[in-house]
Amino acid sequence: MQLAYRNKRITGVLTVIPKNCKTFDEEMKNYQADKKRSRRLKLVMGYDRHHFVEPGVCASDLAVFGVETLLHEGKLRKEEIDAIVTVTQSPDYFMPTTGAVIHGRLGLDSHVYCVDISQGCTGYLTGLMEAFSLLDQPQTRKVLLINVDVLSHKVSKEDRNSYPLIGDAASVTVVERTEEETRIDGEIRMDGSRHDALMIPAGGFRQPSTPETAVLHEDSEGNRRSLDNLVMKGADVFNFVQTEMPPLLASLFARLGVKKEEIDWFLFHQPNKFMVEKLAQAIDVPLEKMPSNIVTYFGNASGVTIPTNICYNVGEKLLGHTYKVCLAGFGVGLTWGAMVLELGQLDFCEMVEF
């Protein structure tokens, strides 16, 4: 699907990172591999540390903390909020939506519309799509996009495939209508035939959680996980990204008549350093323009990696300058997409600890 939005802009981004943190070195003993191999893996994949919430902390806790931080600091007023789009794959409950919980905890007016989207690694893009669409309603001027995931609760600590890279985080992005002639263009694609490449097999209605689904099993690579845990076919996902993302980006740039040299920042989802750097090589973009350090310092928090990338790697520069940026996400679904937009003159762009 091709995407085009006019007269919309991002006016602020806040990322919430849990204080709780563990290093790869501390967790190496959990994995069925000798230390030498694990250390090499650490260097290549960029694993250093990851931040995750304590047991019992849920998506709405991080999200409400983020919005309340903005309210307390005067960067947002409650009465300005017309709608909230919450994107998460780790909701507080099956029902109601996490957005409803957030709405209630913030004490928002009943005119404030809240909607949830279940999406993972492309969740920042799908959230922006929904927020931009809501801004076409005549009375809607300001939408909060909340991306939040606490998937560490669902990853086995003995799964070297997923645990070293998983992170929890939330972000609050303020999206507004503007009289300026802005243009935001994108493209998003999906291949549901590969939906089992990244999934949590049990816990839904197809296969409810039982004592049996909680039993750990060892795979051919020595990783131990249960059907209640997240499972990722790492090699398939890597191949998918390297195969599908370059043609999508080429298609988007060609349609817009944009040369990649004109783009100041390529702020992509970051599953691991190796995958991002190979993608940079495939699309011939210098690493200085395409950071790959989010997994290294925070972990991969699914749809929150792009806003974390924005805040950590560009941050304050976005307060006084405007850059042409390309955002891209790829993963669960499988889904992949990208957007090109002018990002800058933000009211805030920062990170806070939970």
Binding site: E221, V241, Q242
Partner: protein
């Protein structure tokens, strides 16, 4: 080149004999993480960049397949 590749493989997984005429992937000599590490080691040794789309199991199933991949990637 093939001898050097075997030395790199022996350094990575010393418990296996990479002179054997077997499929390294099917036999479990190399897993997906080994392939990632192997790419980094081969790129450093031969000063080349292996394309992401070429990082598929069949290109690491034998020493000959790896040598072919390296030549394709520009290794002398």
């Amino acid at each position: 080149m093939e001898q050097k590749i075997r030395e790199i493989l022996a350094d990575l997984r010393p418990e296996f004999d990479f002179t054997e005429d077997v499929d390294f992937i099917e036999e479990g000599y190399l897993d997906s993480f080994d392939i990632v590490q192997l790419v980094a080691m081969l790129e450093k040794e031969y000063e080349v960049k292996i394309k992401g789309i070429d990082i598929v199991p069949e290109n690491f199933s034998s020493v000959a397949a790896m040598a072919e991949l390296l030549k394709k990637s520009g290794a002398k």
